[in-house]
């Protein structure tokens, strides 16, 4: 895994450009609100989460605890990220 925004496993596949958003404590952990990433086709949400924890070790404490939405819907870890997906990571909500 390189440290640029191109997190491809291999250079031969067509890439999927996704937008990643962070909120609340996760934004503080990552230090920024959003990222644009080029991911291999068929990357799952769980794989993206692993990539991000590898890149931002402060996210480790939230492994298994953070919520994730793909295109504004709560998503399962094995969900394959659709093309140009908007993926958001955040802690359990606390509005109201």
């Amino acid at each position: 895994m390189n440290s640029t925004n191109d997190l491809s496993f291999s250079g031969s596949e067509e890439m999927n450009r996704v937008r990643v958003l962070f909120f609340a404590t996760l934004r503080d952990d990552v230090g920024q609100r959003s990222l644009e990433l080029n991911l291999p086709q068929n990357t799952t949400l769980a794989e993206l989460e692993d990539l991000l924890i590898g890149r931002y070790p402060r996210l480790e404490r939230m492994r298994g605890l953070m919520l994730a939405a793909v295109n504004r819907q709560y998503a399962a870890p094995d969900q394959v990220l659709p093309k140009n997906a908007e993926v958001a990571f955040f802690p359990p909500v606390s509005g109201g």
């Binding site: 958003l21 909120f23 958001a88 955040f90 802690p91 909500v93 606390s94």
Partner: protein
């Protein structure tokens, strides 16, 4: 019938106007309304007692609006006699004593589910609507974290 019932979903950094919201959700057939509002607590006794100067609310706005709309739809499925539904969430800095959120439900009669619907609405908002608050108090800043983990698609 339900197609003509008004739904108002508002995510705003401006002040609330309960009288206006009530008027907007009142139909000629409306005879009862229940309004829940959350308020910024300055002094909390439950759990770890502490003082709060103000709260800072942050939202994932487009998803929050979608999920607020979903909460309204869930209310309509469960309480078909509910007429108007307004769900408002304020964001930004909110001082002690300020209303933060509103769940407003109207119906023809008070036994038509308005009380239960408003209670359900605030419970669901606190489960699935992506909004977070940071407490600012004498000990500094603390993010408040919820506990609910929505299921995929929820």
């Amino acid at each position: 019938m339900a197609d003509s019932y008004p739904t108002s979903i508002v995510l705003t950094d401006g002040p609330l106007d309960l009288d206006l919201l009530l008027a907007q959700m009142t139909l000629p057939t409306t005879g009862a309304a229940v309004i829940f509002t959350g308020v910024v607590r300055g002094v909390t006794w439950r759990g770890q007692p502490h003082e709060t100067f103000h709260l800072e609310y942050e939202a994932y706005a487009p998803m929050a609006e979608e999920k607020m709309r979903q909460v309204a739809q869930e209310i309509r499925q469960r309480w078909p006699e509910v007429q108007g539904i307004a769900i408002v969430q304020r964001v930004g800095r909110l001082d002690v004593g300020t209303p933060t959120t509103v769940i407003l439900c109207t119906a023809a009669h008070r036994d038509s589910g308005v009380f239960e619907a408003a209670r359900y609405g605030i419970d669901r908002l606190k489960e699935i609507v992506p909004v977070w608050k940071k407490e600012v108090g004498p000990q500094g800043e603390t993010w408040v974290e919820g506990h609910y983990h929505p299921r995929p698609g929820e």
